[in-house]
Amino acid sequence: MKDLSKDKLAAYALNELPEQERREVENYINENPSLKKEVEEIKNFGVFLSQELKGEELPRVTDSLRSSLLKEMSEQEPKESLSLLNFLKGSYFQGGALVAAVFGLLIFFSLQQEILDQESDGSQGLQTGMAIKDEAIRPELMPGEGQTEPKKSDGASVVGRPNQKAGSRARALGKGTNNLEVAQVGASGAISHSPLKRKKILRRPVPPHGFVGGDEYQAFSANIFKSTQTTPLSTFSIDVDTASYANIRRYIQQSSQLPPHHAVRIEEMINYFDYSDPAPKNNQPFKVSLEVADSPWAEGRQLVRVGIKGKEVTKKNYQSNLVFLVDVSGSMDSHDKIGLLKSGLHKLVEKLDGKDHVSLVTYAGNAAVILDATSGDNKEQIHRAIDNLTGEGSTHGSEGIKTAYELADKNFRPEGINRVILATDGDFNIGTTSDEALINLVEEKAKKNVFLTVLGFGRGNLNDSMMEKVSNKGNGNYFYLDTEREAQKVLVEKLQGTLMTIAKDVKIQVEFNPENVSEYRLIGYENRQLKAKDFNNDKKDAGEIGAGHSVVALYEIKPTGYDQEGVDPLKYQKDGEKAVQKQNGKFSEELLTVKVRYKKPEGKNSSLLKFPLQKKSRPFEKASADLRWTASVAGFGMLLKNSEHKGDLTYPKLIEMADKARWSYKGYNEYKAEFIELIKKSQELAK
């Protein structure tokens, strides 16, 4: 390459060149080191621009259009002709409908398709007539660019909202000026935001019963293969947290670097995704699905997938009493905190109905009840109250949590969900007394079935460990909302699971049959290990599972008959072997038994479920998409950690594996698409 055009250099810096060209440019840069600095600067500038722009508030489609559209997209898979009828009934078409009447539905459909394909020709396929259609459309100032004056019109119901929005935007923008300074510092050196956050996430405390021990920052070592004869029981607590995945994603996508090994917690990666494990049919809170297949990365080994699916709860089944306790202290005043929360809450409100009751309490200078148990039917009122949330004042939340619990008690639904949802960046001083007093309060309320969920925001002063501790004591869960999309996931898509605990203190114990399994290794859950005897100890706390949640564990096993690398034959266990055989081959087809202990959300004593698995393994390619996806995620984790167990797994192999596994499941899933992008990018970064 003789000359390098500047736009190519930019394209290189922004990672936009095809492989061939990328290499050429790279070589050129290596010969002209002065360009390196420029590349770095462009890269950083790009990150800076994205950071600045991505925070711009996300508007919502006007309410009436929004609800009609959501309705249109919500019916359960009707026949196409049926949905077309709905279309016509809803008068979404004007000109098109006449055509349809003449040509019949099918012809119309294909015709429509053609028209649609020429989106830009201006013909009237889908005229936006509905704009003028009904009275429900209200002018509403949204906070994007390109807006003119707010139109003043119809009625009181709109008054608060637009202006509030505009106001909150101005504040967000004011904040933006500060961000600029920070980001500029970052632009000249390393990318600024990550290290802080990284530290916080890593500070997630090791549970007291964890086997890691020692310093909180300490890296944990991956589970090793254990001999079935010496250690036939594998015991751990479930974990529905997914923070590690979000963290890894941030490293790879935003900082363009591979995450450090100890930031990779494979179980949290696996549990980030949805699986199609069947839900329980009877009254059980969950169902366990087991599957075994050959390992894709090590010949002779097998993978056992344990899939636990929490009961789905249909909306009509229960009432809810939700009290949002929102930290509106000054530190919350930024688009990635209060802004994110507000947009998330607006979306959540759309999912509520008359059975839900929402209260809103803020705390900063004083605790204030903004909204008292308002029915989910009353959406406009709730939206307005949400808009009124602003981040200002200093935190002094002594009364906040008490007020929130008082409201929750006042509106208690004996048969429903009662939950306080604390939204904060952790910069709080939530009681005049100690942390301990706070935890006691939360614990005591949890016993009375008012649970606590914590939503963490922002970076910097996020008090990660405190928040997790508090939510654990409150039988709740702790989510870190870093992006609009994560808020969407927690507050909208997974709302049921977020709010409704269906079982608590869920522990898993797997007993391996030494007759068929010589060694096993649990992939992930290093921090969640329990002692074998803790399994039956009801005083031992463990993880909660929410409605519809999936929890998945993956074991890698070595069936008997394969060499146990370098292990001397056991001197004392011959009798043990005989004992197995004495079962007269009764269990000789069984590979293992999974036992699950759990308590009902309001219960004190645990119940036990047992699920045996037969040894019949399948070739990996024939395994279910769920198993293959789980293996892909675990495989990615192993590559990121450069695990000694990764066998012959490579990035290209992994990409193929994940790509094959992603579509056979329920259809399109953007998270899975994104995951594959992450692998691809990691492959580049690993070079």
């Binding site: 922004l14 989106e119 390109g146 329920k666």
Partner: protein, 174 residues
């Protein structure tokens, strides 16, 4: 390999992309009109084959919404012509007015609003929406290499301005 629940698919995409798509579309027109356009796009989406759009859903939605917005604008002002790559009314309405109104507005947004419309759009698609050159090319109809040139020029301009000691609102971009 098939999407069995098309509505669920569309709904998922809507819930995920509503904000971004609307934010972009609102650069062309009012919130109200942009909402209609976005709604339109999703109704169109319901008629698409999910498999064919796989991996291109967002870009498709952006493209369809953009075309629709430009169509409507053409109708409103029959005199205006904006073909591919030419002056499009992106973020154009009363831009200066808004800048003055929003004095708190951060510097980088101010600087972007002074780029030419084509640059503004491409910069936003690239950095706000984090789309690739290829996707931007699909959306705007410009070639990938042209997108590259625009990005480069816009970055250059922005970096130069940012390096200046004080905000020069009048400078450069006119």
């Amino acid at each position: 390999m098939e999407v069995t629940d098309k509505k669920g698919w569309a709904r998922e995409l809507f819930l995920r992309y509503e904000g971004r798509l609307l934010r972009y579309t609102m650069k062309f027109t009012s919130h109200e009109k942009a909402s209609e356009i976005v709604q339109d796009s999703f109704l169109k989406l319901l008629k698409q084959d999910p498999k064919k759009l796989q991996g291109k859903e967002l870009a498709w939605l952006f493209r369809v919404s953009r075309n629709r917005a430009l169509d409507l604008l053409k109708k409103e002002k029959p005199m205006s012509q904006f073909k591919t790559g030419q002056e499009i009314p992106f973020e154009s309405d009363n831009a200066d007015e808004r800048i003055q109104k929003d004095e708190q507005k951060n510097r980088i947004t101010q600087m972007i609003s002074q780029l030419n419309p084509n640059q503004k759009e491409v910069i936003r698609l690239k950095f706000q929406e984090e789309l690739s050159y290829k996707e931007i090319s699909d959306i705007t109809g410009q070639s990938v290499s042209h997108v590259g040139v625009i990005v480069h020029k816009a970055i250059k301009k922005l970096r130069t301005q940012l390096a200046e000691p004080t905000t020069n609102q009048e400078g450069g971009a006119q």
